[in-house]
Symmetry: C3
Subunit: 344 residues, 3 copies
């Protein structure tokens, strides 16, 4: 499916030192354990260093410190300071994802007022509404919807059945996966004093920077007043929720099920692990990591790693015996204090 | 994008006392901090009262008790008992969401047996199956699917790429966001005695009341036998899961990631905060609030606020030291009891 | 909507002992409490045994041990060892879901290189890309997308607006609900050493076995290298996340919001309850149950039931008082130890 490349080409692209025949052809990428003839592997994790000795990979990307592990391995070496980054960089060469042809599919419905750049691919049944702007080299897979006045930056790739509402601005190089929804109404309602809810129309938009990846079934709501804002280089996994008027700083990462409630801000270079969530109206500074399943209930002003959620796994019988004691924790603490006082 | 309105019109609509020139034109809504010429702001939260003094808003909705905060502010006043509700009510006037034209887009596929009301807008690539009923003034955005015999009440608005299965009944005034799925099979399987699962066909439907809002990527499953039921005025955020045969009472609110497992009932005027979930086969009475990330594992018979989930945020090192002690809680409680007995 | 069947036919299909008129016609299925004339009910749960006495069902599936509960009930009996399984098996007969006609809807866009089997139904606006294979008796509802080279096994049913990327292989008898996304990129990025993320192209695929059900808005990501793999007979609820290179064993069940992070494996015949998640790079053996909201942070090598998440529900005031003590747990344990030492 993919083409083949000489080791020479690969080494030049990665700026790696090559030990082996520069003309050897590489036609695929695989793990150290599974790579065979014509395949390139990499060694980036100490845990797998012992797999090198018996690897049948045609070539391996590794760092100089792993050369002593070579042992029986007789393939070529591509020596780099950061083999994991090298693997990441070369991975695109072996991506079998088909490239859709440029042009507008006859079944697509593109409003006459929309502006479509050069070399754009608009797939079957895509709908592009009035005054939308699709920049050069974008690719929209079948069934996507782009609302009025929304903009998609240069080279963005939108997978099938993505929904983008009106007045959403997305920078260049975006990758947006199927089922993602950008610009739906934020969850804003005022109690009407008679037991019902009065909808607050969400009149802001969404502004997303360059080189942002957005996972499948992820939602980014439009602002109530003013915009929801995602910085440059932000990476977002599946099933993420970003509420109205949230701000996410450049290069932050949000794993699956992580979420940010309304009007909170996440700094730059932060990492929210799986299911890590922020409540609304708080601010988390740059360079914060929040561990899996943690709930951030207050602002964080100091970089570092924070947790609240992941209690230890036990057999259910043990868990129940211990968990019920959580209902007694305040009493336990008070009684302990009393005992301590009595003992002094 | 939106039109402009005189302060006179705004005050009359809100039934507010106007202090200022009734002919002043308002063309937008903004926050107290950001509102400028021609823009209306509101003051509803004590926290922002100090922003009033230097606001450059053309007019501000506020309550009489904030008049002393005016200070340098020289714009108009709209005085109301409930400024937040006033803001909510007027927000629709400034909503820039484009209104789709009435009519059936030529690419839409509407079964001949479906009944389509007056002034309905059916967007590109919408599919409406046999015997479906779309009442007057509904608007279906591109790519929606409406299954056989399903009904959509008057004035409902369905965003792009919503999926509604067969035999789903939705009341008037619904707002349903992209990626929502209503009427998918409940998760019902019987162990077949040989290690596999026998599917239980889900032959019930879904019945949704009037004025319900349903967020993006939210799922409401059809009943196994009988219907899943959502009351009037219920508001549901993104990524919510409502399982088969659940009943949700009127005017309850469910925030993002909240969920209700099979056959449970949630009362009226309840609030499930983010990620608050109910296990199956329990009943929660009216006027209950469940705090973020809590798991309701038993029925609740008394109105009030309940919690189980949000443990305090700590630095990860501190968290780990404390969390491991949860495995010792039962032992700690017993040892404390022993000490107390020994000290008596 | 559904047809009617004689009790004779029902008994023969279920291999049940029939007490009653074999010619009685059954036209529907309902609960013991609600079933009326012409309707079949079942008694599978001790909790509902008392409802039998006054049931107006035309016939009831039950086990011999419940015959003493009959009391006033005068309808027919279908006696079976496993009434719940019997109900599950017969449920298909009464499923009102409309069957789409075989054939390719004129609005569907099927690449000329795709292979479409016999008796296949391809709905409106479905898109099937190059070299895809749709086996006999499959049914694809409107708006689905099937990527290049992907395969769908015999008799699979795909609901509206499902997105299946390229190089995804799905076995026979699959049921996939709306909004599900299969084959989106795994969440793989390498830090580039300059504060940004380098995307790792996800060049593996997804391989799904036979008779798998996949819920609405569930995501199964493609592998980074090699495939993500789902066994035979696996059942997956809504909003589930299965990350790249995960392996799920045969007949395992995953309830709503459960998830498995990258490269972890779940054994056969496991059950993940709602919101039960596995972190990445761990292995869970066969026959493990993980309770609701638990986070599995390490490999499990012994079958059984495991928990970590569901802390007890309390009134919020009580919860807060106790939860804050979690921050003192390590101190409490140490102080208790000191007291114990002093008392010896």
């Amino acid at each position: 499916m993919s083409e083949s490349y000489s080791l020479d080409e690969v080494a030049a692209f990665l700026n790696a030192e090559l030990r082996g025949d520069p003309l050897t052809q590489i036609s695929g990428l695989n793990t150290l354990q599974n790579a065979g003839s014509g395949e390139l592997a990499f060694l980036a994790n100490e845990k797998y260093a012992s797999q090198l000795a018996n690897s049948t990979a045609e070539a391996v990307i590794l760092s100089a410190r792993h050369i002593p592990n070579i042992d029986n391995y007789s393939g070529a070496l591509l020596i780099l300071d950061n083999p994991y980054l090298g693997y990441a960089q070369i991975s695109k060469w072996f991506d079998p994802a088909p490239q859709a042809p440029a042009g507008v599919h006859p079944s697509a419905i593109v409003d006459v007022s929309a502006r479509i750049g050069a070399n754009v691919s608009i797939g079957a049944n895509v709908v592009v509404d009035a005054d939308a702007v699709i920049a050069d080299n974008c690719c929209l897979a079948p069934g996507c919807y782009i609302g009025s006045r929304s903009q998609l930056g240069e080279g963005s790739r939108i997978s099938a059945n993505v929904s983008i509402y009106h007045d959403v601005s997305i920078g260049s190089g975006a990758v947006i996966h199927s089922g993602a929804v950008i610009g739906a109404d934020g969850f804003g309602f005022a109690p009407d004093g008679a037991g019902s809810w009065q909808k607050i129309y969400q009149i802001g938009g969404v502004v997303i920077g360059d080189n942002v990846e957005i996972g499948a079934c992820t939602t980014i709501d439009r602002g109530a007043l003013g915009d929801t804002r995602i910085g440059n280089g932000v990476i977002i996994d599946n099933h993420v929720q970003i509420a109205h008027n949230v701000v996410v700083g450049d290069n932050s990462a949000m794993a699956a099920y992580s979420g940010i409630a309304g009007s909170s801000t996440l700094g730059r270079n932060c990492i929210l692990a799986g299911d890590a969530c922020l409540v609304g109206h708080i601010d988390v500074c740059d360079n914060v990591q929040v561990m899996a399943r943690s709930l951030v209930t207050k602002s964080i002003e100091k970089p570092g790693s924070y947790s609240s959620g992941a209690t230890p796994l036990m057999e259910t019988r043990e868990w129940r015996k211990n968990a019920v004691r959580i209902t007694q924790l305040d009493s336990i603490a008070r009684r302990l204090k009393t005992l301590e006082n009595n003992n002094n």
